[in-house]
């Protein structure tokens, strides 16, 4: 294989796949990027066996063929060079020559034919979604995903179709057992998406998807054989779905709140951040008390001290007191966009509900802590 190309032609793609390739894998081939030159294009592939990414880029192909170059090294060379024209040539015994006219690299590579075959599912029914919408949905749910797989196996976002009020929505739900975030968005032509029971999309895959979607413009999505397929321009992303079952979350969503208040999102976010200052491993709860048009936040930590803040709200009901993890509030409030948020309470053993006008279709739930 031999190609010549402009740095900018492939740099963006190579840098994007850095988060996919495995650095410490026991399969060294997974730390490489496969470059396959054919016709007038080179196809760039990366995979960790759970996520596969491919993009074709037009380059000057001198000789067709494939090489598997260390993804990290390729990225670093492109990053450090100030030259724009590059030359890659395959040599004998898996050595690859790479040059930017000034510097020359001889890279020890791995045999390209060992690269895991990347099968692009065929005959997938795709629908078109606005990238920004998809990105918003991911941003407003993905933070609730359990960081490490434990307890509930919920290390992904549950995605399904729901229909109400005569419309069909695409819904994403995520929970770590302590909180839940859910968003519904109407998507044109959603009926034709083959998604009967809902699927679990792993967090890592969603982050990759988010990178594509956040660029804006239309994105095509589809499902086939336990895979979630995304296409945007010449890029294809295939995400293997999680087998895990998502719990029946409908039962935990309160039908209506008993007390509700509205307040400025930024104000609450900043207050919670201040409360977080005095929390640690052992004492992380903030006590929220509502009474006489005042919302009082108190964080008491025998090791560090106490923090308190009062926020004026419109609340006349009986005194309500409940403990919460301020971290969870911060995560949710950060992802929201509304200037004013609605907080709904039932009692100190039921979840707190978060909503906002500008966050169409979004619902956040945070379970209280017992103090």
């Amino acid at each position: 294989m031999e190609i010549k190309f402009d740095r900018d032609q492939i740099f963006k793609c190579v840098s994007r796949v850095q988060s996919i390739i495995e650095r410490k894998s026991n399969m060294p081939i997974l730390s490489t990027i496969l470059l396959s030159a054919k016709g007038t294009e080179v196809r760039i592939s990366a995979t960790d066996l759970e996520i596969g990414f491919q993009q074709t880029v037009p380059v000057n192909v001198i000789q067709e063929g494939s090489v598997a170059i260390s993804g990290r090294k390729l990225f670093e060379i492109l990053k450090e060079s100030r030259k724009s024209s590059f030359h890659i040539r395959e040599k004998e015994n898996n050595w690859v020559y790479m040059s930017d006219d000034v510097a020359r690299f001889d890279l020890a590579c791995l045999p390209a034919d060992e690269y895991p075959t990347f099968v692009e599912p065929e005959g997938v029914q795709m629908i078109e979604v606005e990238g920004n919408i998809l990105s918003e949905m991911i941003n407003k749910t993905v933070y609730s995903v359990t960081i490490e797989e434990a307890g509930f196996k919920l290390s992904g976002v549950f995605t399904e179709k729901v229909a109400y009020e005569g419309e069909t929505f695409l819904r994403m739900v995520a929970t770590d057992g302590h909180r839940l975030s859910m968003i519904d968005k109407p998507i044109p032509d959603l009926e034709s998406l083959d998604l009967p029971n809902g699927v679990m999309i792993p967090k890592k895959g969603l982050n990759e998807l988010n990178k594509l979607a956040a660029e804006g413009g239309p994105v095509q999505i589809g499902l086939k054989q336990k895979n979630f397929v995304v296409k945007k321009g010449t890029a294809i992303l295939v995400i293997r779905l999680l087998e895990a079952k998502f719990p029946d979350y409908h039962a935990v969503i309160p039908s209506e709140e008993k007390h509700s208040i509205e307040l400025e999102r930024i104000l609450l976010l900043e207050a919670m951040r201040k409360m977080l200052i005095l929390s640690n491993e052992r004492y992380r709860a903030v006590r929220i008390a509502l009474e006489d048009n005042i919302m009082e936040l108190v964080s008491t930590n025998p090791d560090l001290g106490e923090a308190q803040e009062k926020i004026k709200v419109d609340y006349q009901g009986e005194r309500l007191e409940a403990g919460f993890n301020p971290r969870y509030f911060i995560d949710t409030l950060q992802s929201m966009e509304s200037e004013t948020v609605f907080l709904g309470f039932i009692d100190n053993s039921k979840p707190c509900i978060l909503k906002g006008d500008a966050d169409q279709g979004f619902l956040g739930l945070i379970m209280p802590m017992r103090l």
Binding site: E148, P351, M367
Partner: protein
């Protein structure tokens, strides 16, 4: 004809002898006890054939007159007590008047004795309990007792004696045990003319500890003394990592008498507490000095058991003495030895040309166990320099005197445990309610345990709702626990609660131990340098920074000396 008849005295005394004298070692024990009671300051013991051939005990005590010698082999003849009330405050080792007659009835015994103030001594020969002769003889002041052919007249007993070697070992064991509390008395043990143990008189216990526990253990032991009005406890405690699976190196003395007592053993174990793993026994010597009227030694003919009148006090005193001493003495980042020997770096170069004797000196000269108070003064709070992580499991650090390896899981487990415990004390363990209750299927037995302990579990932040049948719903969990497999956690917790009485503290403690284990970072978890430093500094604040709640050691020291030896820089 009557079926019940009184046994001839000869048979009766042989039966009685069986209780006191069951093997040569018990003869040695009884005779040395007598010599100590006779105020001797030099006691020589000679044995042959593991004591089966000869046991000869030679002392320079007060000695006996002709009448005393004749009387001492009579049953219930003793100089040590006079009235029944004396029994309740026995200060001497013997008091039953059984030892000598018992020995005399099962062997050929010869007693030679002369009180200091008399010119001539007497020699008494007795065999199988029958007096053979008594005559005047020249003798050194003191008493010499020779016991030959033990059990010659009871073949059944003799058959049960073990090999010479085994019996010799038993004698050595008894000898060292009895000699330990009396550093002021010179002891010597000879086997067939060869000196096995020679313990010259000194004013310290340490020499005796060396012979009893071995040089390495004795050198590592810490000494502690506590006293209140009628109870004095002094103890030599080996570090927890030198523990054994049997309690054979835990020596207990009450007023100088070596005893085996479950209460004291339990107290020492409790004092070591979580520093020991389950089923492990420390190496330790405990001396209890107590008003003789407050302890009853007349429990068993061999006098190896005692009863304390106020056993709870004794128990508590031992637990707190041991616990306190250990708490002050084993610091994670300073090995006790380095305190004494000084920093290794002060010894100039680490070169091979360094005079070898330097090491020999520090290693071979008996290092007196340091006092707890001294240690406290010199406790330099030095933070170890982190080298890195080994196999994502062990933290390696450089400390003043060498290398410190820390088991990250055990260390974190300790931290989580003590944090939880402090939280539980101030009755504030934060509970995170679950959005979706976790369904739990329990066995009938487990269900009973959960229902019985529900309040305690609730205090720990674990809220379990009975859902009917054997199904429970886990509604809230302790907020401090992250990434926990609830099934595994709860089933382990329930198993732990199963076999215990429903003492609040025990339940709490067990639960906390399990919680700590599940909440702690695991082996194989990569850590950054900052995380490691944080962990180590947290560990330093812990009450017991040496062992995880299960008793596994948290760290292991390798001194430069040990490392140098590994590489043969020093030989």
């Amino acid at each position: 004809m009557n079926t019940i008849h009184i046994l001839p005295e000869k048979v009766a005394s042989q039966i009685a002898a069986g209780e006191v004298v069951d093997r040569p070692a018990s003869v040695v024990r009884e005779l040395i006890d007598n010599s100590i009671d006779a105020a001797a300051d030099r006691i020589f013991v000679r044995i042959e054939m593991g004591g089966k051939g000869l046991i000869k005990v030679n002392d320079n005590g007060v000695g006996m007159s002709r009448d005393d010698i004749l009387l001492c082999v009579e049953r219930y003849a003793t100089s040590k007590i006079e009235t029944a009330s004396d029994l309740f405050s026995v200060k001497s080792f013997g008091f039953r008047g059984e030892a000598l007659p018992s020995i005399a009835s099962v062997s050929r015994t010869e007693i030679v004795s002369r009180p200091k103030d008399q010119l001539a001594g007497h020699r008494l020969k007795i065999a199988g309990g029958r007096l053979i002769s008594i005559e005047e003889t020249g003798a050194p002041a003191g008493t010499i007792i020779e016991v030959r052919n033990l059990f010659y007249n009871i073949p059944a007993r003799r058959k049960f004696l073990r090999a010479v070697r085994t019996e010799t070992d038993h004698i050595i064991d008894v000898f060292s045990r009895v000699a330990l509390p009396f550093p002021g008395i010179a002891f010597k043990l000879e086997d067939a003319g060869k000196t096995i143990m020679n313990l010259p008189a000194s004013d310290q216990h340490i020499q005796r500890l060396h012979s009893l526990m071995g040089r390495k253990v004795a050198g590592a032991m810490i000494e502690v003394q506590e006293e209140n009005h009628d109870l004095g406890i002094s103890a030599y405690l080996a570090p927890p990592d030198l523990s054994r699976t049997r309690g054979d190196r835990l020596f207990v003395y009450v007023n100088g008498r070596n005893i085996r007592d479950r209460l004291v053993t339990k107290a020492v174990l409790d004092g070591y507490g979580q520093r020991l793993m389950k089923g492990q026994y420390p190496q330790a010597v405990i001396f209890i000095e107590i008003d003789p009227s407050k302890v009853d030694v007349n429990i068993h003919p061999t006098k190896q058991e005692v009863r304390f009148h106020n056993s709870r006090d004794v128990f508590q005193s031992i637990v707190s003495t041991v616990g306190k001493a250990l708490g002050q003495s084993f610091h994670p980042y300073i090995s006790p030895k380095s305190q004494q020997e000084g920093s290794f770096f002060q010894k100039e170069a680490l070169s091979i040309s360094e005079p070898v004797w330097k090491y020999y000196q520090t290693e071979q000269s008996p290092v007196a166990p340091f006092k707890v108070e001294e240690h406290e003064q010199s406790l330099i709070k030095e933070t170890p320099r982190v080298i890195g992580q080994l196999g994502n499991t062990y933290i390696l650090c450089q400390v003043t005197d060498g290398l410190l390896m820390v088991d990250q899981h055990a260390a974190h487990e300790r931290i989580v445990y003590e944090n939880l415990k402090n939280g539980a004390k101030s009755s504030r363990i934060e509970a995170q309610t679950l959005l979706i209750p976790f369904r739990l299927e329990l066995s009938t037995k487990e269900q009973r345990i959960v229902l019985e302990n529900r309040d305690q579990l609730n205090r720990l932040g674990i809220e379990l709702d009975h859902f009917g049948g054997n199904t429970f719903l886990l509604r809230s969990v302790p907020a401090i626990l992250k990434n926990v497999e609830w099934d595994a956690f709860l089933s382990e917790l329930i198993t732990e609660l199963e076999d215990d009485k429903l003492d609040d503290d025990i339940v709490l403690d067990k639960a906390l131990t399990v919680m700590a284990c599940h909440g702690a970072i695991r082996a194989g978890h990569p850590m950054t340098h900052e995380e490691i430093s944080h962990l180590l500094s947290e560990l330093e604040e812990m009450e017991i920074p040496t062992n995880c709640p299960h008793g596994r050691p948290i760290f292991k020291h390798f001194t430069y000396y040990e490392i140098e030896k590994m590489f043969k820089r020093i030989v």
